[in-house]
């Protein structure tokens, strides 16, 4: 009799699609190796259609019709918020890889000890970059970061980044927090993302140009990536560090000459293969199984999602809920993201997985890891300049 895991992902979106494929890969590998507790694993996937009500109904179905033992899955915060009340109703062990919005954390509350959240929360990410940039400033003496400008898309994703940066800035002014050593001046401006019918960033870029930042970050979607650089070139705005923080990147960004030396925040890049055997194993197995390259970090996250859960079950040695929770809290899983995954509490919930994202840079069409320094695949190219 198989152990049933229920996954809810947006199959119509590349993130959900690849996360699902990676999950299937993990399940196949585990089953080929004899399963867990002597039982095979069965993965049941339902599309959430990026619609909150559908995502919630999917959980109900997995819980009552499919009778799964665990929930996994991820992506959109809006969908997840609608799932929270249902998840609370069943209180099954849930390992989630999406939903970065702190609202989800608030909704889940502190008591849900069966809930594991692997993706860093929005506020953790900003904090992590402070750590990263501080280390980079130390490692590269010519890099200077005092003035930071954040351009953020006006929806929840961008606005949440902005508010967390404001908090970090306030903390830095008081001499606290991860940015305290470097951040002196901070400014932000919003824009309408191309994915929501916007796509004209020039007013915002002119504001940024007038501010003359050392570090320019934009928090938007993959669709914004190319037009922002193109329009920055048009208004002749060349910050020394040009950073994009979308959840994914366009298909041919690397091929675009304007991408050279653009910095990105992310959790994973194919170049990690050079420094992490797990990453390489995952990459090769994924390409082998699906005949396509993993293009978003949700693919390795999906893989991690299953493995992490299964390791927990293995360690617990039974399907006892409390035992598994205890096990998941203590295991250390060497993930294809290049880091070891271990659980720590975050602001509200007890079981938070990854804390920080990585700092990477586009170089010759590849995403190279710059920070964490121990995972670095190459050196930072500084300052940023548009090619001719």
């Amino acid at each position: 009799k198989p152990i049933k895991i229920g996954a809810v992902n947006p199959l119509g979106d590349i993130t959900g699609d690849q996360a699902t494929k990676a999950m299937k890969l993990a399940v196949k590998e585990i089953n080929d190796a004899g399963g867990v507790l002597g039982r095979p694993i069965e993965l049941i996937v339902i599309d959430d259609e990026m619609n909150p009500a559908k995502g919630a109904a999917a959980i109900e179905r997995l819980a009552t019709v499919e009778n799964v033992d665990f929930f996994v899955g991820g992506m959109g915060s809006g969908v997840h918020l609608a799932q929270v009340p249902i998840l609370k109703k069943y209180q099954k062990i849930t390992v989630w890889i999406g939903a970065a919005s702190h609202q989800a954390e608030i909704a889940m509350g502190p008591d849900a000890d069966w809930y594991f959240h692997l993706h860093p929360w929005d506020y953790q990410q900003g904090e992590g970059y402070g750590v990263g940039w501080t280390e980079i400033v130390h490692a590269y003496p010519n890099v200077k970061i005092e003035k930071v400008f954040l351009a953020y898309e006006e929806g929840a994703f961008g606005t949440d980044s902005y508010t967390s940066y404001i908090d970090l800035y306030e903390a830095a002014k008081r001499g606290e927090g991860s940015w305290k050593e470097i951040l002196k001046e901070f400014k932000g401006a919003s824009f309408k993302s191309a994915s929501l019918g916007g796509g004209d960033y020039r007013a915002m870029l002119n504001q940024a140009k007038a501010f003359n930042p050392d570090l320019f970050i934009w928090a938007g979607y993959d669709a914004d990536a190319i037009p922002i650089v193109a329009q920055a070139k048009e208004v002749n705005f060349q910050p020394p560090l040009f950073v994009g923080a979308p959840p994914g990147w366009p298909a041919d960004f690397g091929k675009n000459p304007l991408s050279e030396n653009v910095i990105l925040y992310g959790m994973w890049a194919p170049t990690l293969n050079e420094v992490s055997p797990v990453a390489k194993h995952f990459y090769d197995a994924y390409v082998e199984m699906w005949k396509e390259e993993p293009a978003t970090y949700f693919a390795p996250l999906g893989y991690t999602n299953i493995y992490f859960l299964v390791e927990g079950i293995k360690k617990a040695g039974s399907l006892d809920k409390n035992a598994i929770i205890e096990a998941l809290r203590t295991i250390e899983y060497e993930s294809p993201l290049g880091e070891v995954l271990k659980i720590e509490p975050s602001r509200i919930i007890k079981n938070q997985g990854f804390k920080y994202q990585k700092i990477l840079q586009w170089q010759k069409g590849r995403q190279e890891v710059i920070w964490p320094l121990e995972l670095a695949t190459t050196q930072l190219v500084y300052p940023f300049k548009f090619g001719k």
Binding site: G197, R202, A203, Q207, I226
Partner: protein
């Protein structure tokens, strides 16, 4: 008759004064506004043509634009054809697509009224978006051309030149469409068919051909719009989708059947948006201004319009 001429002149003068004032106050906003507004107009025109002139409601307007973008992308990606060159084949491909869509689908709901057209094209929109997702995934694609981000420097302003192609194309398309509607037999027939299809048949107009041609021309223009947008626009399944609403907004603002109004309205909205975006801290309100002006104009027109 004279009255409409007079009010047109008044609108035009007010419009030009508005542009001049903005130009002195915020020159960059004027540039960005004209460029954006030109794009709105260019995309709005084909919708105005099929909704305002022959009365077909197409909710999949923006999604056909998306389709155009993908086709342009294929030309670039597979055969390295510059989007401005693939404009010609794109016009004809979308023209052909328009013919097919009209002949097998739209034709059947012509008499059924706007609501059925609404639902039909909603279904079509859904099919297009989902098909694109399956073929190309949701990852954005794009086309790189060096000219698209070129600019000239004026004082401390760096002004992008490429996007002036939007208002230029909008004006060109508008002029050609007006000539077509006023000077060609087919164009005149289009207005007749829009007002009374049965009456049109009775004076010897082949209404079916008129619908087919107008619909296809509109699609051809969508293809042209897609090509000029392509160097500056990311291509993903929902690229064009938001333009459906904006185009409908423009048509309602200009008034059904008023093609010139699309250009004036488009640029007004573009400039108004650009002004708000240029005020630090208020960027997020630009949509309110867009829709606020839209609502104000529609209400004003309604109250000004004399009793029937």
């Amino acid at each position: 008759m004279e009255k409409t001429n007079k009010s047109l002149k008044k609108t035009l003068i007010a419009f030009i004064i508005f542009l001049i004032v903005v130009g002195i106050w915020k020159p960059l906003a004027l540039v960005y506004g004209i460029q954006r507004g030109g794009l709105y107009s260019l995309i709005g025109l084909p919708l105005a043509l099929i909704l305002g002139i022959v009365g077909i409601l197409n909710l999949a307007h923006g999604d056909f634009l998306t389709l155009g973008l993908y086709i342009g992308y294929i030309f670039f990606n597979s055969w390295s054809i510059d989007p401005l060159i693939s404009m010609a084949p794109l016009f004809f491909i979308l023209f052909g697509l328009g013919m097919v869509i009209y002949s097998i689908l739209i034709r059947r709901v012509l008499k059924a009224g706007h609501l059925n057209q609404l639902l039909l094209t909603f279904g079509i929109s859904m099919i297009i978006i989902e098909l694109i997702k399956i073929i190309w995934t949701t990852r954005p694609r794009s086309v790189y051309t060096s000219y698209a981000s070129s600019s000239v420097t004026l004082g401390n302003m760096s002004i992008g030149m490429y996007e002036f192609i939007y208002p230029a194309m909008a004006i060109a398309v508008l002029v050609i469409l007006q000539l077509f509607l006023k000077k060609t037999r087919l164009g005149q027939a289009a207005s007749a068919v829009g007002q009374n299809p049965k009456g049109a048949e009775i004076v010897g107009i082949n209404t079916n051909v008129v619908y087919l041609v107008v619909f296809s021309i509109a699609f051809g223009i969508i293809g042209v719009a897609a090509s000029v947008m392509l160097p500056r626009t990311p291509v993903f399944p929902l690229s064009g989708n938001p333009y459906t609403l904006k185009s409908f907004a423009l048509v309602a603002m200009a008034g059904l059947g008023n093609l010139n109004g699309i250009l004036i309205g488009g640029i007004t909205l573009g400039v108004a948006e650009a002004i708000v975006q240029s005020i630090p801290g208020y960027e997020g309100w630009s949509d309110v201004v867009f829709f606020g002006i839209l609502i104000a104009v529609i209400l004003l027109n309604a109250y000004r319009r004399p009793e029937s």
